[in-house]
Symmetry: C2
Subunit: 347 residues, 2 copies
């Protein structure tokens, strides 16, 4: 079967690899229909973080269950599913508390190889999210929105949930990548009245506004803080979503909120040490981390996509097939695509 | 009038100072009945933090309104009041959001001089908390519990609210000082089922259990983390209250929670830089800061004291008068008292 392989920084390749097989009774084999490239993939694609050369890539997909291990009973061969990057067991303290991204029983390193024709998926029973009907029942656009439920939409939603966005809030969203844009969708669906999007790219500003942003701030750093203070009458925002992860973005996020506000962050942090004493004196909270994909999909996001209330699939602005994996990464790397879709097989 | 003055580290003195007067139309003059010594006072008493020599001290009291400025209409001369260490205006974005400890209109340096016969209190209109009836209506014990509402009880409650303690939680409380003990009262009243108190002093362990602690952990650092993990079947706690502020206590607090838990902290932080990337990967939240004294008192704590549901006044284990202010500080410094009460005038 074909799979996307990381050759070296800046170079991806489609290669032939053996078909995956069931290794544990809790595994499933998924026939992938659509996959995509994540903003976090760019860290190793650009050589900023390390990744083993020759390793398979991708951690977002939708597909059809091909085969299940003997302990998998919640899904069956033929089921159409969202394939999350997370692998919650559904039973441990983290999963029960709604933090399946931190499942205490997950297999290390299990979330790679989704940019491929087939995938071995661990802890399949609870974490796969069944989609009603069959793939051919859905429009091209709806399939993309379902694909977004495997990571990017759930991650944007985690930022908003972590920031505790509530009805009537003025919310700042840091980052205009696909996650930030899904953060805007999420803030809106949680009731934010005013959404200030930090964005400096025309196409993304436009999409931000279509998703519900009411104000755009193109400045960065302290100038961005000043701008938010102007827009909020000197008070600061009620809630803040940090969807970038750089030091500058995190520090800005921690400055734009009013006392008592929470920064919900999902951008993988690039800096470690933070002066948290300043946060104490202003009662600023810091939460967030790995999204609870299965929890959010099953509880709210799948229904929202099926009802057409949210259309996160619109973040896919360029389409590729598995044979053009290099171009899919390049388009993201060069900001030609907000997010690159990879159509692996026709629905 | 008499007031407690900070002479130099380790030395307090009762001194004669001029009677305070109304300086702003929003001021009130309070005749103090009871005041007390705060754990945070020990930082400068011990010379660890700086304080101006010759400055007046204390930031917790109950008393009777003596005089009000022309813009103060919510309280009148003769009213019996809790005198918070905070000075919320009740109108700014912080106050409206329930964070009056960070009121955006507060007078800098306004919270000192409560260990005295009289006090000029700024922003009196909204922030003073009226107590029904007159001081002589209350028992000695009840007066102490009302005094606790000026800081320590509200601060413990802020830790629990910031940690988002909810029904059924297993909650860890770091710190067995008066604030930690009030944190235990608060966790219990917010529905925690199991409360693990970190305490290594007999008298405080006993009081912790009387207030609702179900388990005591005397270990510190990584041994304490291990102990909590044993007690929670390897999962970690659902919520964590940090009522100390030292680096060791904060780091321990951030390690004892399960994924998704929040550390609600009220201990004034003694360290600044924290590695928050580890928090990201475990979805651990960090919140807290200055308590919302007036908000909590008016919404829930005053009623809880008047109904006898909570008895935070029990943290006052030694009693002094204003002429023995040195002894009041010494008793706290030497851990002979959990908290030193100062009876300024008879009710």
């Amino acid at each position: 079967m074909k799979a996307a392989m990381f050759v070296e920084p800046g170079r991806m390749q489609t290669t032939e690899v053996p078909m995956p097989v069931i290794e544990k009774p809790t595994d499933a084999i998924i026939r992938i229909l659509r996959a995509c490239v994540c903003g976090s993939d760019l860290w190793w694609y650009r050589g900023i973080s390390k990744r083993e050369h020759g390793s398979l890539a991708g951690h977002e997909a939708i597909g059809v269950v091909q085969e299940v291990g003997p302990e998998v009973t919640a899904v069956r061969p033929g089921d159409f599913v969202v394939v999350p990057f997370t692998h919650g067991c559904g039973r441990c303290a983290a999963c029960r508390a709604g933090f399946d991204g931190n499942c205490m029983n997950q297999e290390p390193g299990g979330n790679a190889g989704y940019q491929a024709e087939y995938l071995r998926f661990a802890s399949a029973d609870w974490s796969l999210v069944r989609i009603p009907g069959k793939p051919s029942d859905y429009s091209d656009e709806r399939l993309n929105s379902l694909l977004a439920l495997s990571d990017v939409m759930a991650t944007g939603y985690h930022a908003a949930v972590s920031a505790e966005v509530k009805t009537g809030d003025t919310t700042v969203v840091m980052g205009d990548g696909a996650v930030g844009l899904c953060g805007i969708i999420s803030a809106r669906s949680l009731g934010a009245e005013r959404i200030i999007a930090m964005s400096r790219h025309d196409d993304r500003q436009r999409m931000a506004c279509e998703f519900g942003a009411t104000d755009i701030v193109a400045e960065r750093g302290d100038q961005a803080v000043e701008r938010v203070m102007e827009l909020t009458g000197g008070s600061g925002a009620d809630s803040v979503l940090e969807c970038v992860g750089t030091e500058q973005s995190t520090i800005t996020a921690l400055k734009v909120g009013r006392p008592g506000s929470i920064v919900g962050r999902v951008g993988v942090p690039q800096n470690s040490e933070l002066n948290t004493t300043e946060l104490f004196w202003r009662n600023i909270g810091l939460r967030g981390g790995i999204a609870s994909v299965t929890t959010y999909d099953k509880n709210v996001l799948l229904d929202a996509v099926l009802d057409g209330r949210i259309e996160p699939g619109r973040v896919f602005t360029k389409r590729f097939d598995l044979d053009h994996i290099q171009q899919a990464y390049e388009a993201m790397d060069e900001r030609e695509a907000i997010k690159s879709l990879i159509v692996v097989a026709e629905a």
